[in-house]
Structure formats: C-alpha cells, structure tokens
C-alpha cells in the first residue's frame, strides 16, 4: 500500500469517526464504542474492496456487506454517507422520528444497506444465505459481514458457521470486531467467547487474526480471504473499542451512551487534530 493510499484511508476513517460522533451526539442516543472500533475496516472495505455503486445501490451483482452487529449502525451510515449512498446532512437525523436512519440498519429505507439487522446472530446467517444465493446462481459477487465479539455468544452464529463451512461458502468473509468489551463489561468476564480463532478453525473456516486498525494488515488479510477456496474466511480484528476518542477508548460504559456537548466538542477536537496530523 502506498503512503498516499494509506493517508487517504486514514482521512476517510477519521471522517467516519467524526460522523459517528455527530450522529450519536445529535440523537443523544446510540452506540459509539463499537462503531469507532470498526471505522478502519469499513473505510477499507468501502474504499478498496466492495464492488458497489452509490448510483446503483440495488445492483443484483454488487458485493454485499451485512452489519451483523447492527447496533453499530452509526459506522455504517457514516461510511455510506462518505461514499455517497446517502446525503451527509441526513446523519444528524439518526434515530429521529422523522428520519429513515433507524437505530439499527433498515435495508428497506437506507440505500446501500444490504440487510436489516440489529438482533444479534441473525446477520451472519443472512450473509451466508446471500453467499449461497451467489453460488446457486453462478454469480461472482462476494459477501462480507461484521460480527461483534460479544455477539459470538449467540448460538445462531455457530449454526451459521457450520452451515457456511458445510456449503463451502468461500465467497463469504466475516470479520469479528474483537474489542474485548460488551455492554456488561469485558467479554472474558461476562461470557468468554475466546479462543475465537480456535473456535472458527474447528468449525472449518480459514482464520486470520490481525490488528484491526492497521490498513496494511487489513489489506493483506482481505486479499488472502479472497484467494481462499473451499471454505469461508473469518478475519478477527484486534481493536480498541471507542478508538480515536480518548475518553471512550477501552471503556464498556461507552458501548451505548451519547456524549454531552463538552464531550462531543472534545472528541471532535481530537479527531480534527488526528486529521491534521495525517498530513503534517
């Protein structure tokens, strides 16, 4: 990856983080922590990987992205706005009665949103169904899905994992946002889903564990997943919940809480500084 490309991705990810903060602050509600932790991966996917077109968001041959951890909708809406699927000014309507931007993704009313999600465990199954649909119809689109590490406690994730390996869905690539926190605390304390890599490997997946904030590693892992034949891929992203906003980092309390005005200004100032530092 060239330095220029990396800077471009960093700028995009930082804009996504600013949008996330703005959405949650505007709504005075929402889930910033797990949205911020996936900003880099979403920036990379929507910039470098997904074969999608904001002019034709429902194109049948497009790649799909399913946000199985649907509560991090602010991150999805942010990247959709940054890539031109939805107007950026709509983001401040997030969770508002007059807006189409629902608290959790609604595929029927949000251009570029490929699956309704929010109830944990359901999205990965839907993604597997899409991947199977591509195989049945001989289409070459790929399906990407984002799971949370807390979400792995849902039994359906493992039903879907068995199903995806059984039907050799090598056109499916799942990510696990391994930020180590869920609403009630550390995942190892609330319900220990580790070792995540060994579980997926035992279920027949091609497993990679990477730094989810490093674009070189994301690029390499997505490339390897694309080349993997005969089995689905999972990329386990070691991330920091709340990444990029100092007071939110690695704090379970920011799973589902909105910043007040002072906190919002502080967060935006930090992100602005980060943006300036990219080109410094």
């Amino acid at each position: 990856m060239t330095t220029e490309k990396k800077k471009e991705l960093m700028r995009l990810a930082t804009h996504i983080r600013m949008d996330i903060l703005t959405e949650v602050y505007s709504a005075n509600s929402g889930h910033p922590g797990g949205s911020l932790s996936i900003a880099d991966t979403l920036a990379y996917l929507y910039s470098e990987v997904l074969r999608v077109d904001p002019e034709k968001p429902a194109c049948p041959d497009r790649d799909r992205f399913v946000l199985s951890k649907g509560h991090t909708a602010p991150a999805l809406y942010a990247v959709l706005a940054e890539r031109g699927f939805i107007p950026k000014e709509d983001l401040t309507g997030f969770r508002n009665i007059n807006s189409y931007l629902q608290g959790h993704p609604d595929m029927k009313h949000t251009p570029g949103c490929d699956m309704t999600s929010g109830s944990l465990g359901l999205g990965i199954s839907a993604a597997a169904g899409m991947a199977l649909g591509a195989k049945i119809q001989g289409k070459d689109f790929r399906v990407y899905a984002m799971l949370g590490d807390g979400e792995l406690a849902e039994g359906q994730v493992w039903e879907a994992s068995m199903f995806s390996a059984h039907y050799k869905l090598d056109n499916l690539c799942a990510f696990v946002d391994w930020n180590g926190l869920q609403i009630d605390g550390r995942i190892v304390d609330v319900m220990n889903s580790t070792p995540i890599d060994k579980k997926f490997r035992a279920f027949g997946w091609y497993v990679q564990v990477i730094n989810g904030h490093d674009f070189d590693e994301i690029e390499k892992a997505v490339g390897k997943a694309k080349k993997t034949k005969g089995k689905p891929s999972v990329i386990i992203l070691k991330t920091v919940k709340g990444k990029g906003v100092s007071y939110m980092e690695d704090k379970a309390s920011w799973h589902g809480a909105a910043p007040n005005e002072e906190q919002y200004k502080l967060g935006m100032a930090e992100l602005n500084a980060a943006l300036e530092a990219i080109d410094a």
Binding site: S125, K139, Q156, A160, F163
Partner: protein
C-alpha cells in the same frame, strides 16, 4: 369415501411440480425433509434443496439472505420449530424487511398425534398473524395445498403456510379449483348459522352441517384458508346473513382463526361467535381420532356450538 392425502404430502409434490416451472424456487429444510416431504422436491431438484441441519434459526435467516439475491426460498420444518423456535428470526430477518420468503410449516395442530405436546403446534396462527405484512394460510386439503403453494410462489412477500401430518379427505377437484390468497371459499350456503373453518376442520365442519340438518338447522360452511389477510367481506356478509358464527380450527382458541373472526365482526357486525379449537391447553400423545375427540374437534361438538350460537342470537 373421498380420497385421502396429507397436506404435507401435497406440499412436497407441489414443490417438485413447480420446481420445473419456477427456476428461482429453492428449498431449505432442517433435517426433516422426509417428514415435511420436501424430500420429494429434493429428489427432483437435488441442486436446489439445502439441508440446514437441526438449526431452524439459521435456516430462516439464511432464507432471508437467499431471497435478497432474487431466489424464492421455501424454508420448511415442523410448525413448532418454525413459528415457535424461529419466531424471532421470522419477525426480524423476514417480516420486518418484508422479504420474499415462504415458510412451509408441516405438522401443525393436534393431528401430529403420537409425538405429543412438544411437537403439536397450537400457537402458530396466533404468533404469525401478529407480524405486520405476514400472510398466513392453512389449506383444507391436498388440492388447495397445491394451489396455495403456487399462489405463494407468485406472491411477493413473506407467506406462512401450515400443513398437516395426517391424511385427510380431498375436498376439491384439481382441474377446476380456483384459489386466491385472502378469499374464503363458500363450501355450503346456509341461513341459520355460519361455520368458519380452516385446514382439516373444514371437512369436519361439513360433517357438522349434515348433523345439523337432522335438527332442521341450515348451516353455512366457509373455508377460511387465509387467516391473514382475513376475508372480512365474506365473513361480515355471513355474519349479517346468518346472525351467528362458530369457528373451527386445529389451534388454541386464543389468537387464531376464532380470534381473527371475532376481531372482524365485533366492530361492525357484532353477532355471537363461538370458537371451537383447543381450549387453552397443550396437546398430548395419541392416535388422531381419540385426540380429536379428547379436545372436542369433532362434528358433534361443532354442531353443539352451532345450536348454542343460534340460541345467543338477539
């Protein structure tokens, strides 16, 4: 004696028949293909049948994903494990985004028989019809099953179809029978009371009509195969015409066809409605005839309720 065939049998045959006509049709099952009869489709189209193993939640959400790629998936299991176990997946993966998935639920009702209460789903009409935009159908016989399956294929949106395990009489002629989602069928006209039934209870309602004749009572029989959207027009016209209704279904009397009919008439044509069904109980093991007797799903009990309903008329 009419021919007998289980509606689940007709379901499997219909899938296999229409598989040739509709190339977007794919079928999912959860390790019950032999019992739900989707195995009949699998035999004809092995490359379009996907066993999901004993994992109904994943099957339902995967069907949702499949439908977004332009395919028309039928996902099958026993009614208990579809409408029951996978209720939340049906609501959130299929109902909320209004996806084009068909749910073929077999082994509905009490006539599951020997397997008993854990497998006798008596709540599916109730929970399925509370999902906005869901169509809920329970065909009365094998002919109507075939027609309902094709109607569901051509209907864009989620459809829940309930079939039975037991062989039941064939009531309609395959060559001439016309089926329309949401349009009830007048099986017999009548003046004194209306029996609104679905599934196997349509045949039993016709038997009740014969019993009532002996007492000089002229009962109309309606086949309300679509519980949602309900044929309000037909039900209200018979409420006005006969002044009393008895509903009959293989379902808890709470929440199913009986409740739907009450909801339809209460505001605009309030007439007595008595509900024949399983009276807020779980099922139990047994052969079909004694089970029907035990729970009062009989012609005699329907006839008795008709007389009561007539006596309640103002």
């Amino acid at each position: 004696m009419a021919d007998k065939k289980a509606t689940r049998e007709a379901y499997g045959e219909a899938l296999a028949e229409f598989g040739a006509k509709y190339d977007k049709l794919v079928v999912l099952d959860a390790d019950l293909a032999g019992a739900t009869k989707t195995a009949t489709f699998k035999k004809a189209f092995p490359e379009r049948h996907f066993d999901c193993g004993i994992a109904e939640g994943n099957m339902v959400s995967a069907a949702a994903g499949l439908s977004t790629t332009g395919l028309i998936p039928f996902a099958s299991s026993f009614a208990m494990f579809l409408a029951g176990r996978a209720f939340e997946q049906i609501r959130n993966s299929i109902g909320y985004p209004h996806l084009n998935v068909k749910l073929g639920a077999t082994h509905g009702g009490i006539t599951v028989g020997e397997d008993g209460a854990t497998h006798q789903c008596l709540e599916d009409f109730s929970v399925m019809r509370t999902i906005p935009g869901m169509t809920v159908i329970c065909p009365a016989d094998a002919t109507e099953t075939r027609a309902a399956v094709e109607a569901a294929i051509n209907f864009v949106g989620p459809v829940y179809l309930r079939f039975g395990r037991a062989a039941t009489p064939v009531l309609f002629d395959k060559e001439t029978y016309k089926f329309e989602i949401g349009k009830g069928v007048v099986m017999a006209d009548g003046a004194d009371v209306t029996i609104a039934a679905n599934g196997y209870m349509v045949d039993i309602a016709l038997q009740a009509r014969e019993l009532l004749k002996n007492d000089g009572i002229d009962a109309a029989v309606l086949n309300i195969h679509t519980i949602k959207p309900l044929d309000n027009e037909l039900i209200l016209s018979y409420a006005n015409k006969t002044g009393a209704i008895v509903t009959a279904e293989e379902h808890n009397i709470i929440g199913g066809l009986g409740s739907a009919v009450c909801e339809a008439v209460c505001a605009v044509a309030p007439v007595p409605v008595l509900r024949v069904g399983v009276n807020d109980q779980f099922g139990r093991s047994g052969k079909v005839p004694p089970l029907l007797e035990y729970y009062g799903l009989t012609a005699a009990n329907i006839a008795e309720n008709c007389k009561k309903a007539i006596s309640l008329k103002k």
